[in-house]
Each structure stands twice: as structure tokens, then as C-alpha cells.
Point group: C2
Chain length 167, copies 2
DNA sequence: TTTTTACGTCAGTCATGTTGACATATATGA
DNA sequence: TCATATATGTCAACATGACTGACGTAAAAA
């Protein structure tokens, strides 16, 4: 039985531990977004633009509705940001082949360059944290974060294939 | 030497792995904030109110400047949100004892109740993720997230004392 | 006594989200 | 073929939460 007085809890779910988890997420996310935000400001863009650029870069040819599902915002919100990015030639639209109602989105060369510049900072930050924490910690990080994500979106994260040593 | 062709990288820092980390953070944070956001809407509050309520609850008697450092926003931004919370009696202010210029912030009973209601959802979500991932994964999660946080703020997260089994 | 600090306020602006209504082109099913 | 559903876009109005800049006040510190 759980011993409240001594602070021992077999499920490791003590209040303090959970609050630290909450705060780690807050501080990590705060610092994780700060660097790209500064770069975006130079372009007159904001974090919303980064998200669009990121996911279009990640899924070339993505449809507007798929992007909306990822971002969980309204089409009107997306429209403003996406419109700017298309107008300023960071993203191109082309009609779908099977379904010509769709506007498939892709980064232009310019868009790829900005995406690279933005994501580079975040990649470097993650890389450093991964390196310092070690491979085993990275597995735990992934496992817990995946548990925080809604069931429906977990399929976006296939479990890694093991490292092929020399193969 | 790193073998690019075979995808083997001894530092585990392959592009794909880093992008998955970036996306895990995005999706986890998105879903982590969605539930409290919905509750806050019932009160006519937003995420900014949650952050203030959370950190005042976490550090009773916190000063305005300390809160500003945590949130990394301007005093004008904080002012509006904090002003509402004080006016609607979720938070009280009292002058500092040693320094009477300070306004020490504390949650009222009403504030504590709202904080509990909001944080409960996040705590439950984290608790579930922790439970499903296991203690070892939790350690890794903490280690990596801490590495993402700016050096200056890492001291906010003391390393856990080991579980005392039986007192 | 002067300066600095902690905090507040007024005013204006911007980015990003919302709801609601309506429009258009295309796909799909009866 | 015709009706309906879907993918996308647009206009308008609004709320939240961030920003800068300027100025004010009380208390601490030099």
C-alpha cells in the first residue's frame, strides 16, 4: 500500500514530480521556440509561419486540410499566414492530380532555405540535449512525450528502426 | 568515422531522429495545453492567465519581477492578465516586508481552486504518460528536457532524491 | 539628498487565434 | 444527370496576448 507519510509511492506519481514535469515542458518549450522566433521577426513573420513552413517542408505536397488537422487551427487563421507565405514566394500551391480541388503545398527554394535556417537552431538544441543525456535517456524522452500526445496522432511517430551498425 | 551512406551515426543524431524530437515537442505541447485552455474559456481567461495562476500557486509570495523572469514577457503584458486576476479575486497582493515596493502575489481560495482544476488535467495527463513509460523513461524525459532549458533556469529543477522505501 | 529599483499605467500596434456567413470548383452518389 | 458533399477560399468582426515607448510613484540604496 502507498505510504503517504514517507513520500513513497510505487507509481512514482508524487505531486512534486508531476509539477516538475509540467514546468519542464513549459521552460523547455519557451526556450525551444525563442531562437526561431527571433529569426522570424527579421522576416516580419511569427511562430505561426514557422509551423506552416515546418510542416510543409516535412510533408511536401500536403493538403490544406491535412495541415489544418496538424495545427488544430481554423482555415481562416491558416489562410492569412499561408497567404502571406505564398505571396512572398516561400510556398507554392498546385492542384491535386486525383482531386483537383486540393491545393498541394510545397516549399520553394526560398522556403527551403528559411526552413533550414529556422529548424537548424532547434535541431542544434535538441542534438545537444540528446548528446548530453545519452541514447537511453532519448528513448525515455520519446516514450513519455509520445504518451502526452493524443492517441490519434501517435501514428505519426513510427518506432525507430535499430541502428544498423555498418549495414 | 560516421558512415553517412548506411545511416549509422554513433552520436544518434540523424536528421530523422531530430525532426521527430521537434515534432514530439510540438504535438505534446499542443495536446498538453488543449484541456486547460477549454476550461479557461469558461472563465473568460486564456493561457496567459493559467501561467500566472500556476506560477503564483507554485511560488506563493512571488514578486512581480520574479514572475516576469519566468514568463519572459513584458510588465505591460503581465499587468493586464494579473490585473484581471486580482480584480476578480483569484490573486491577492500584499507589500513585501523587507521591501515595501514589492507586491507579493498569492492565490486566494478561489485561485487555489481554479489552479487545482486546471493543473489537475495536466497532472493526470503526465501521470498517465509516466505510468505507461516507466520510471526509467521518466528519468530520460527529465534529462533531455532539462537539456533544452536555458542554463540559467536549470537550477529550478533539483535532481530528485531517490525513493525512500519504507521511510 | 540623489539615484536606482519595483511596480504601475496610458496609448498604440501587431500577430494569431476565434465565429459566422457566404462563394466556387470539383467530386461523388442516388 | 442531378443533388449533395467536400476542399478550399474570402469577407467581416472580434478577443487575446504579445510588443514598444513614455511617463509616474513610492521606497530603497548609495
Amino acid at each position: 500500500m502507498t505510504d503517504v507519510k514517507t513520500g513513497f509511492n510505487p507509481l512514482f506519481l508524487r505531486e512534486e514530480e508531476l509539477r516538475q514535469g509540467i514546468e519542464l515542458l513549459f521552460f523547455a518549450y519557451r526556450d525551444f521556440t525563442a531562437e526561431p522566433d527571433a529569426i522570424l521577426a527579421d522576416y516580419g513573420f511569427g511562430r505561426a509561419h514557422h509551423r506552416v513552413i515546418y510542416f510543409v517542408g516535412r510533408h511536401p505536397g500536403i493538403t490544406v486540410s491535412d495541415l489544418l488537422e496538424i495545427l488544430r487551427i481554423t482555415k481562416q487563421s491558416l489562410s492569412r499566414v499561408l497567404g502571406q507565405l505564398v505571396m512572398e514566394k516561400f510556398i507554392t500551391q498546385r492542384p491535386g492530380l486525383r482531386d483537383r480541388r486540393q491545393r498541394l503545398l510545397e516549399l520553394t527554394e526560398k522556403g527551403i532555405e528559411l526552413e533550414r535556417q529556422l529548424t537548424e537552431r532547434q535541431r542544434a538544441r535538441i542534438a545537444r540535449a540528446y548528446r548530453e543525456a545519452g541514447a537511453e535517456a532519448v528513448d525515455g524522452f520519446r516514450k513519455v512525450l509520445l504518451g502526452l500526445v493524443e492517441e490519434a496522432d501517435r501514428a505519426r511517430f513510427p518506432s525507430r528502426s535499430p541502428h544498423r551498425r555498418g549495414g
